[in-house]
């Protein structure tokens, strides 16, 4: 079970155009041995949830720079749960103020939030431990 590659969806919700950060993360996760499904920009929460469902991922990675994180991230988390995908680990990256971060992780079902310039090893390690723990409970 532990040698099964972790399936991750990397998506960019919202309308801001550039996805350099998301691509860097996607490549880092691939290089860490994960299967990364990259959906590109302009994803609505509904599209993200539908893709997560079809791809049966264990992790949803969201890159968000538009400032709309307080509306978009909770929406994705809620809709994932409603679709029966509450087991997905949700990781977000982007420019998100500390107080928003605290709220998102404590109350809105986001598992971790990383700012720009975070060492990707840290993200890889977090995903590995969290997924291993969730697999053990399934």
């Amino acid at each position: 079970m532990s040698d099964v590659p972790i399936r991750v969806l990397v998506a960019k919700p919202g309308l801001d155009g550039h996805d350099r950060g998301a691509k860097v993360i996607a490549r880092a996760l691939r290089d860490a041995g994960m299967d990364v499904i990259y959906t590109g920009i302009g994803q609505t929460p509904h599209m993200i949830v539908e893709a997560a469902l079809q791809e049966d991922v264990e992790v949803v990675g969201l890159s968000i720079l538009s400032g709309a994180h307080m509306t978009l991230l909770p929406k994705v988390a809620t809709q994932l749960r409603e679709a029966g995908l509450g087991h997905c680990v949700i990781v977000a990256g982007g420019i998100i103020p500390a107080e928003d971060s605290a709220l998102l992780t404590s109350q809105y079902g986001i598992d971790a939030i990383y700012g720009p310039g975070t060492n990707t090893d840290e993200i890889v390690a977090f995903i590995r431990t969290t997924v291993a723990a969730r697999r053990a409970t399934l």
Partner: protein
Amino acid sequence: MNDATVQQLANEVRRGDRRALARALTLIDRGGAPVRSLRRALAGYGVGSLVGITGAPGAGKSSLTTVITQELRQRGMQVGIIAVDPSSPLSGGSLLGDRIRMYDLAGDSGVFIRSMANRGQYGGLAATTLDAAMLMRAAGFGMVLLETVGAGQSDVAVVDVADTVLLVEAPGMGDEVQSIKAGLLEVADVIVVSKSDRPDAPATLQQLRALVRMQMDSDAVWSVPVLPVSALRQTGVAALVDALLAHAQWLQTHPVTWRQQRRQLLALQRALESQLRDAVQQLPGWTTALAQLGQSDSDVLARQLLEEFVVNGFTKE
């Protein structure tokens, strides 16, 4: 996952439950005993055609898959898509990016898209994709489109399991085509010159048509069409879909026996491989072999395990 659980999952797949289909596809991807249970549970359910879409990296396969799907949807068909990309040989991970170009298909419940890594396998990938197509059909997606990069042996194997092989060639390939694509040109049932909005498309079209005429057996009963399509401008799509459906129809009365035999052989090989591997991993010697990894030659270890299997037979089950 035990047999009863898999049986229940299979029932949910047949009822069209998308989450169940997604989970079953994961079982297929991971391989092993559940795959055999799924095959048993779903054998004979669902009908339809498997179209393999292949071509060089960047040839326009995903864009083409999108417009073909839109056309099929307009004709009332449900479409399953399997998009295969290579695994990284270094990390074993993969970056599966075909969904980017399939943006316009999002939100349509008559479409189901699944990305798969090829895990560097040869024949195995072909069997995996066949199983995935079987699941999609059982769930009601009559037409299954399989996108795979046309480079390397594994992909030619994938091409062999499709009912219809669609080869995608971008304009401006010059003289390369004979040498590089010779193998694929032979198995293609339909050929598309993609990006036909580009000014160099007509020349490529002409070149390819000449090549195909030259290759064609004089007694060939299916004549391979070479069609210009622009996914960007959405031109030529209806004619392409007509050709794909015509080929599926044609297969009903003209089974391509060598291809079917090859597919059955592949299925047998795959079954043999996975059953043998599972059986050997039940042997007491398996743990010993694992402990010797890196110190002993893997061919020698495999040989020892096989000998132990011949003597001991099945340990469990």
